[in-house]
Symmetry: C2
Subunit: 451 residues, 2 copies
């Protein structure tokens, strides 16, 4: 368990002063992006179900805020509801090679515990960075075999959330080992729900954040856990992976900042559609095409895209449309973008989008598949109505680290997200943006969750 020990030691010793400014900057950007995702889902099923559950089972008031209804509750329920909300509109961040969505599990747990314990903005940043760095490495450790059956953001998310809160509590190496045990033995979440388009995606992130937080609070109280839950013979990898690589757990700790490899979502669709969407957009702009010029589209994709997107043949709901390559490319072709507004107004309603979608085909590309999941390549072939065959390739989809969103672009995305749901007024939105950009100097963070 030398790799687990190295990871625990790194987590115990990590200090705010060690962290490069660029990492702190990116953490603030990821945090604003996360808040927008959570606020955008106000009122959207199944978000209110989690709010009602918190009201039924939790205290009537408390130190930790629920973003979508502005109410105070205990840290456990704030983490639960905010995590459910932030994984709903498909706008939250993604780390490519771990296939982990870190924000939706790390930030809800960290923020809820920060509010409960009166921690500062710097402590929130440090805790969140610990959660990202460890969570991403644990996701990489469990490998592709894990992701085939298990929703990594649910399973690894429990550990990532726990670690963030454990860092807030200034755990030492021993406590981090116990924490990994207490969080890891709760790790759960199966992909089976995709077949039925069931609501489990939000249940998974809700439970990951809340269970991780529970693990940290109980570890602080003295609950001991398995000290080798990651690498042990009856641990997570033994039970839930066939290609685990323990060396990934401690990969360049302190020199590689995995958090900065995290991608922002530009389009409001499943991430597996983004490379093709960007390639199509580039091709249509380059060739000055409009959608009626297109006779056929082939998206050359990795197997994972076919596995996840192939289930949706004719989308019946907006959520399914976000997992339908034809609809996503149809919105790009007709409207030039595939944001939340386009999905909700046009994805199912516009015959031109539907007609374009019917011209789209996904084909497995060995080149794209070999690069995945480290790189998500976009390769597209368009046949035009006048018989031309055109190609486009993009190597870094919009939002990836090498093609990231600037602060103005992120602010714009945030404004669109809160406008979409009406969860905050434009003025409140500007206040939130300024609060996040100054988070490292703030000792009181209550502005973030109360409206």
């Amino acid at each position: 368990m030398s790799h687990t020990r190295a990871l625990a030691s790194f987590l115990a010793e990590l200090a705010y002063e060690h962290i490069p400014a660029s990492v702190l900057d990116r953490t603030e950007e990821l945090f604003l992006d996360w808040m927008g995702s959570a606020l955008a889902s106000q009122g959207a099923h199944p978000s209110p179900l989690f709010e009602r559950y918190a009201e039924m089972m939790g205290p009537g008031e408390g130190p930790s805020g629920i973003l979508t209804n502005g109410k105070g509750t205990s840290a456990y329920f704030a983490a639960l509801v905010n995590a459910a909300a932030s994984h709903l509109v498909e706008q939250d961040d993604l780390h490519n090679s771990s296939v982990l969505h870190p924000a939706t599990v790390v930030f809800p747990a960290a923020l809820a515990a920060v509010e409960e314990g009166g921690y500062t903005g710097r402590e929130l940043l440090l805790a969140s960075i610990a959660g990202y760095e460890a969570g991403i490495r644990i996701g990489e450790f469990l490998g592709r075999s894990h992701y085939r059956i298990f929703h990594t953001t649910a399973t690894v998310g429990t550990l990532a959330a726990a670690i963030a809160v454990g860092k807030l509590f200034r755990f030492d190496q021993e406590q981090f080992l116990n924490l990994l045990g207490n969080a890891g033995t709760q790790a759960a979440g199966l992909w089976e729900f995709l077949r039925d388009a069931a609501d489990s995606k939000q249940l998974h992130t809700a439970k990951a954040a809340a269970d991780g937080l529970l693990a940290a609070y109980m570890t602080r109280e003295g609950l001991t856990g398995a000290r080798n839950i990651l690498e042990g013979p009856q641990g997570i990898a033994a039970g839930m992976s066939t290609d685990a690589n323990p060396a990934r757990l401690a990969d360049r700790l302190g020199s590689r900042w995995a958090l900065t490899e995290t991608s922002f979502k530009f389009h409001a669709s499943c991430r597996h559609t983004h490379p093709a969407a960007d390639a199509l957009l580039e091709l249509m702009q380059r060739e000055n095409l409009v959608h009626s010029h297109v006779a056929g589209v082939v998206a050359h994709v990795h197997q994972g895209a076919i596995d996840v997107l192939g289930r949706v043949v004719i989308p019946q709901t907006v959520h399914q449309a976000k997992f339908h390559m034809g609809t996503v490319l149809g919105l790009i072709a007709v409207y030039g973008k595939a944001g939340l507004t386009e999905f909700h107004s046009y994805a199912l309603a516009d015959p031109a989008v539907k007609a374009f979608g019917e011209k789209v085909e996904m084909v497995l590309s060995p080149e794209v598949d070999d690069a995945y999941p480290a790189r998500w390549l976009g390769r597209i072939t368009v046949t035009t109505t006048d018989g031309r065959v055109l190609h486009a390739a993009i190597d870094e989809p919009k939002g990836d680290p090498g093609n990231t969103l600037s602060r103005p672009e992120l602010e714009d995305k945030f404004r669109r997200l809160i406008d979409f749901s009406g969860a905050r007024t434009p003025d409140q939105g500007e206040d939130l943006i300024q609060a996040v950009w100054s988070i490292r100097d703030r000792s009181d963070l209550s502005i973030l969750t109360r409206c």
Copy 2:
């Protein structure tokens, strides 16, 4: 998924009137036995940690009672704390062929929801029976490969607890399918903690009962789940078993009452020690031996006993002593019993027990191993100081269905359990016994949890 459908249909249609009187009787007996197990752990680590967590994260009062401190809280936290408490002193029930401890997950969830919703004693019995019948079959379905890595009472326990509460809510077949999805995708719990004698066993049952209850409440609110979580290609069996047998899910539903196959624990030790303990007791009584006559003992056991018990070489704690064959047989030889009092007063302190323990060896027996887990055979060989070699065999350990505990024996066990911790006075204990024996005629069950 025909087997899952059959199970869901059975659960939806099961009515109190269908249940034989002997099954109702046994359910009351299992319930009393469960309450004793929970009350016995008042004050014992880690039980108070869960009480403190409930106080920190839950409401200050509520309709559902915590057995060990008499406080009211929400159903979620009552289920959490009572489930942790009832799996601590190693006195709760066990179903052999599923290797599931049903009481510690089913009753806490069902009772908490009964109190929250004002249900009757009959509804509690019906709900609990549904949880036992389904949970046992799901445990059998997942097979021995599952139990090798996963703590079945944790994983399957989440489903069993959910089903009990779902039955209370009178779910139809569709709701039960969604409920299985919502509970199954939360199923977690790894054996890795055994290596460190960590506190995860209680965390597992706490989370199973509470998560199962959460699944039922959220399903009632409208949260949809994977409809084929048990048998589907990205479901529990696909991810967490290599020898799953779907036919077990619907095995003789309505004619085989699996609940009545559940064993009571007579000794206060790990169930894997019981067959040998009973065989040794029989041999010593038959031969009129005292412990000083014994030169050596061989316990002929199944592989599972070696896997679980073999880790403890020299017990350092009372809890470890319960997992140490030598100590258990030492208490039997010296004191004629291995109850909670013997463990706490003598297991570590009496040199005669330790000396006897050092003469004990476990040896794998193909006969015992082949019978397991359907039958837990006890086979023992004793060499005496005067050179005799003696054998004893028992085929049904005390507490198994064919050698069960009578109501007076269960009452006596209950009295000893509450006396051990002092959680209730003797008079309160008698009131509780009478309340449980009349549970099917009670509409108000608040006497059970308040002291």
